[in-house]
């Protein structure tokens, strides 16, 4: 049973309270609810889904958002530090007994077990190490026993059996040395203590190293301001962030962080969004523009109205997306997962077989050799390194990508991005800025430039197509009055037609002219010339006669050339899709060194072009805006959506690029390659460690070279194996963005 608080919007009178309460109580699992009209909040108790509750309120005609309590990373860090300290303390106490015993033993200062006095000393040493095992290693024994009861075996099982065997054998021969031959009378109390010290110390180091793996998510959480300056009853007051509701007015002063998502209602400023989008230049914001929580107001003071709070803010969604991706596993880790699941029982069997081999084959002291090798096998085996190899690298890689404004949806997308050998780019808005402008107007017959622009702008004024907006802007700039159009018709992939001032007007490409039997041969040379200059020519026909050409050009983004060159360096074929005619497409392709292009592609055909490349054996990445290109993005092996600002809710994309730059694709592919390489290093290391370490511990080198591994060295190796894996993953933190190299 939990209590959650919600901000309720749209309540205009006290009577609305009953409506909201009714909606709240209709949700399964809600036990009690209380709506506060003055604060526009609701307190709800029970076991229910927040999403279902918000839906119920919205269905009732109001707005609702979860007032999420701020994530307390400080508390988590304090708990982790306490655990780290406790591990170090346990390691220190165990070493305090184990190390002197080891030194005295090596220097022959400890008494012999073959006499009564020696037995008494060893008996006390046994008790001292029993205390160490209880104080520093009890958690291994409890874990092993509980796992055993659940028909499970884990790392605790191996440590408990290894150190337990050492202690029991040592105590048995201390009490009754006659049980083994005199040469085999050696107690291993110090080994048990030192192994426990080493494993605890290794866990502490691993914990320290792990803290660094989650730096990216901590940085994102740290972006969230703790308070907001809210205007209530005409006064500006500081309010804790989780108490700010929907549609509240918030003041942001220069240098302050924008506390939540909303829309500017008064004032203007430059806002630094680099921490979320990776875009280094501050963005100008005016009244009506959206602002995002966590970004920094650089210059002016402004008021904005909150539109998204709690879990709904872009920052909260980015954190959720990054966390989800960090917790997903790609196919590369599946084999290690399967081995990890059966690893410990297999090691137990190998340990028993090792015991048997030495017991039956050793020419002298078979019991001692059998016990020591069995113990060493148990201690050296490390299932953790194997299990940790993939997720720890994914955690760092996905977090690092987020720092560059690259949101990777899951581990699978991260793995596949590194295998891409073809990238398809949608031209408009991806390679170009998506803000075309009129660059040339050519007239034919008696038509004047202004008249041509007036007709073209009049026909296009209702359209949201970027080319249409360019024509309307050009007409507006020349103060041309627009006329009303009738019988408007849009022909997908061709153009538009309508009646204006008793004229039948057509505006579009060559296909539209041909379809309507317009003679336009005389204009084709002009059109080709314009196209070769990377301009998109559109023919205008009036009453079945060609009247002119309007050419529009969409400027190429400054870093598109750099990104395409970088993709080439990675050995990736770059393909461009465009609705432009082939001359314009060819000109753009030539200018940017694009390997292949498809011109005059209709929106619905983009998916087919991706499929065509896949049929040629290519692993294809598709880069588009995420809305018009959704089918092509879904078809591609990896779909990259270029977001606008922090438009993170692009469901069809595997990767969302919050910075509107193609360099994000290069970053995503480079991070993917680096992460997969890192995972392979970790897996290789973990497999090699276990497949070499276990036979060596079993004594495979003894018949050949007379070498037998000391169980304490095995303990040190085991303790360091996980630390090595985590430290190797941490190297990914030094990955640099391709934008940073600019």
């Amino acid at each position: 049973m939990t209590v959650r608080h919600f901000s309720i919007g749209g309540m205009s009178c006290a009577g609305c309270v009953a409506g909201v309460e009714k909606a709240l109580k209709s949700v399964d699992g809600v036990v009690a609810s209380a709506v506060n009209f003055a604060e526009h909040t609701a307190e709800v108790e029970g076991s229910f889904s927040s999403a279902a509750l918000i839906k119920a309120v919205v269905d009732a005609g109001y707005e609702a958002a979860l007032l999420q309590s701020e994530e307390d990373t400080a508390e988590k860090e304090a708990a982790e530090f306490q655990y780290y300290r406790s591990l170090l303390k346990k390691a220190f106490v165990a070493a305090l007994i184990g190390v002197p015993l080891f030194i005295f033993g090596m220097s022959g200062m400890l008494p012999d077990l073959n006499n009564a006095q020696g037995q008494i000393v060893w008996f006390f040493i046994g008790f001292a190490t029993a205390f160490v095992i209880w104080f520093s290693g009890a958690h291994f024994y409890t874990g092993a026993w509980k796992a055993f009861k659940n028909h499970n075996a884990n790392m605790d099982t191996l440590i408990a059996l290894g150190t337990g065997t050492a202690w029991i054998f040592s105590m048995v021969i201390t009490i009754n040395p006659e049980l083994v031959p005199s040469l085999a009378r050696h107690a291993y109390f110090e080994a048990a203590a030192i192994i426990i010290a080493l494993i605890n110390f290794g866990s502490a180091l691993e914990m320290r190293a792990r803290g660094k793996t989650s730096e990216a998510i901590k940085r994102l959480i740290g972006l969230q301001p703790k308070t907001a300056r809210v205007v209530r009853n005409g006064k500006e007051i500081d309010v804790v962030i989780n108490q700010v509701g929907l549609n509240e007015t918030v003041r942001v002063r220069p240098g302050e962080k924008v506390p939540l998502d909303g829309v500017i209602i008064d004032g203007h400023s430059l806002v630094d969004e680099s921490m979320l989008t990776g875009e280094p230049l501050a963005v100008e914001k005016n009244t009506g523009d959206g602002v995002i929580g966590g970004t920094i107001n650089k210059s002016g003071s402004f008021l904005f109205q909150t539109k998204r709070i709690g879990n709904e803010t872009a920052l909260a969604q980015i954190i959720a997306l990054v966390r989800k991706a960090q917790n997903s596993k790609p196919a590369i880790g599946k084999l290690a997962d399967k081995i990890s699941a059966v690893f410990v029982p297999i090691v137990l069997i190998i340990a028993v077989i090792t015991f048997l081999l030495w017991f039956n084959l050793a020419e002298e002291m078979p019991v001692s050799y059998a016990l020591v090798t069995m113990m060493t096998v148990l201690i050296i085996a490390c299932p953790c390194a194997l299990g940790l190899a993939t997720p720890i690298s994914i955690m760092v890689g996905v977090g690092k990508a987020a720092e560059f404004g690259v949101l990777i949806r899951n581990g699978e997308a991260l793995q596949t991005a590194g295998k891409l050998n073809a990238v398809v780019l949608d031209k408009t808005g991806t390679i170009t800025k998506g803000q075309p402008s009129v660059t040339s107007v050519i007239t034919y017959g008696e038509w004047q430039e202004k008249a041509i622009l007036m007709l073209a702008a009049s026909i296009e004024k209702g359209s949201e197509h970027p080319l249409a907006e360019a024509i309307v802007s050009a007409a507006t700039a020349q103060n041309i009055a627009l006329a009303d159009s009738q019988n408007f018709q849009a022909v997908a992939g061709h153009g538009v037609l309508a009646d204006i001032d008793a004229h039948h007007v057509l505006l579009g490409n060559a296909a539209l002219m041909k379809k309507n039997n317009i003679a336009f041969e005389q204009a084709q040379t002009d059109a080709r010339r314009l196209a070769e200059q990377a301009q998109t020519p559109m023919y205008l026909a009036v009453d079945k006669q060609l009247a002119g050409i309007i050419a529009v050009a969409d400027p190429i983004k400054e870093d598109s050339v750099q990104a395409i060159n970088a993709l080439h360096k990675l050995g990736i074929k770059v393909v461009m899709l465009t609705g432009d005619n082939k001359h314009t497409a060819e000109a753009v392709a030539k200018q940017l060194s694009i390997d292949e292009y498809f011109a005059e592609v209709l929106p619905e055909d983009k998916e087919q072009k991706v499929a065509l490349l896949q049929a040629q054996g290519k692993v294809v990445g598709m880069v588009g805006d995420g809305i018009n290109d959704a089918p092509a993005l879904a078809r591609a092996d990896v779909g990259f959506a270029i977001g606008t600002g922090t438009d993170v809710a692009i469901e069809s994309a595997d990767v969302t690029l919050m910075r509107g730059s193609l360099l994000g694709v290069v970053d995503a592919i480079a991070i993917s390659k680096a992460t997969v390489r890192n995972i392979k290093q970790n897996l290789f290391g973990a497999f090699v460690y276990n497949s070499l370490g276990i036979p060596i511990a079993a004594g495979i080198l003894f018949p050949l070279m007379g070498i037998l591994l000391n169980p304490m060295i095995a303990g040190a190796a085991m303790a360091m194996s996980s630390v090595t894996v985590v430290s190797n993953a941490n190297r990914l933190r030094w990955f640099r963005s391709s934008g940073a190299e600019k």
Binding site: S47, N150, N154, M155, V352, L356, P383
Partner: protein
Amino acid sequence: MTLAVNLLAVVLIVAIIWWFWLSTATARSMGSNRLIEIQVENGVYSPARIEVPLKQPFTLRFIRKDASPCAEKVFFEGLDKSLLLPLEEPAEIELSLSTAGEYAFSCEMKMYQGSLLAKEII
């Protein structure tokens, strides 16, 4: 003596195979509210094997008491789901399984292991 030790070792190997691979823990049933609380402590999920209703949503509430980072996440294999477990705080996940069978869940190192036994519950 040698024969006895050898026999004992063989019995031990058979016992390991039987206990860890061929035999399973008894599955704990859920209550009528289709919610079960799982303690995450000392290297084990308690309960570790849970009987869940087929084709009906159910909730797993994890309470993590182990501060070790290994216990921080739980992965549900084959379901592409995972859950972050804050220390000493309940963390819930709602699941629904459409196919009968056993679904494993574990920590990232596979040291904590559990399973959901999805079956028609009459």
